[in-house]
Symmetry: C2
Subunit: 155 residues, 2 copies
């Protein structure tokens, strides 16, 4: 399975970004740094779940990682893709493609897909069923990949 750095890119838009903009928006560089950090935290959670489904399965650790993933997915990531963040440097230069901003329908779709799969992962993690977690983890990975394929430049 491919390593999924994190999908959120998309996530954002879907909803609440508009209303974050109503408050004073953080500077573009700050938004980029925060979203790059978000994807790293998602990557950490993915790595932990991967280790659990491939090795010794610790239900509690998987629940923690899945809940963190879902909470982040639900947290309104679109707010970190505000005006002026199409290029620029956070921790490093952003790798987002211009299409992410111009193709709002497609971007919304990958965001919604990621959020849906992340929430489902949290749901199945709570059951402790390893096979279900493994299958759903794969779907989250596919949601990550769909966004990366279309909207993330190669490193």
């Amino acid at each position: 399975m491919k390593k999924c750095i994190s999908p959120l890119i998309a996530v954002l838009i879907a909803t609440a970004s508009m209303n974050a903009a109503a408050q004073q928006a953080p500077k573009p560089e700050q938004q980029i740094k925060w979203r790059q950090s978000v994807y790293q935290v998602l990557a950490w959670n993915q790595a932990r779940i991967k280790a659990n489904v491939e090795g010794t399965f610790n239900k509690e650790e998987v629940i923690r990682a899945a809940n963190s993933t879902a909470a982040i997915a639900n947290s309104g990531l679109g707010a970190l893709y505000g005006p002026g963040t199409e290029s620029g440097k956070g921790w490093r230069e952003t790798t987002v493609k211009p299409e992410f901003f111009s193709d709002s329908k497609g971007a919304a779709e990958v965001a919604i897909s990621f959020t849906r799969e992340a929430n489902e992962l949290a749901r199945v993690a709570a059951t402790g069923d390893v096979a279900l977690v493994k299958a759903q983890f794969g779907k989250v990975g596919q949601a990550c990949k769909a966004c990366h394929d279309d909207y993330r430049k190669k490193d």
Copy 2:
């Protein structure tokens, strides 16, 4: 991913993480990068809650930010302070003090305090009571500061 369980490493990680399951530990630099990212995501959530309690209060946004904060606090952050992470570079050089590793009782206390206050923040956010959120947001800030004062080098 290979399962590697050196008993010593397992014990150290489990200790540091207050009971995270020890699969193969990620490299120290990776752990440092992930934990630095975790703090940035927490900072983003804090900034959003601050903007809401000081400006126009959007209950749904506060809930999202508080839930994300709590889920991260509950997610077993100790696992990112494994052996070899006392110094080194993630996104940048770590600013953790050696005391964080030598004073395990004190480190556990600040970790428990932060987790408790973050969970309480998620609870009061769900009520939509601005005054309660504001007061609890202050307590989360105090928990952050207590750890920074004792265990984080100045930038």
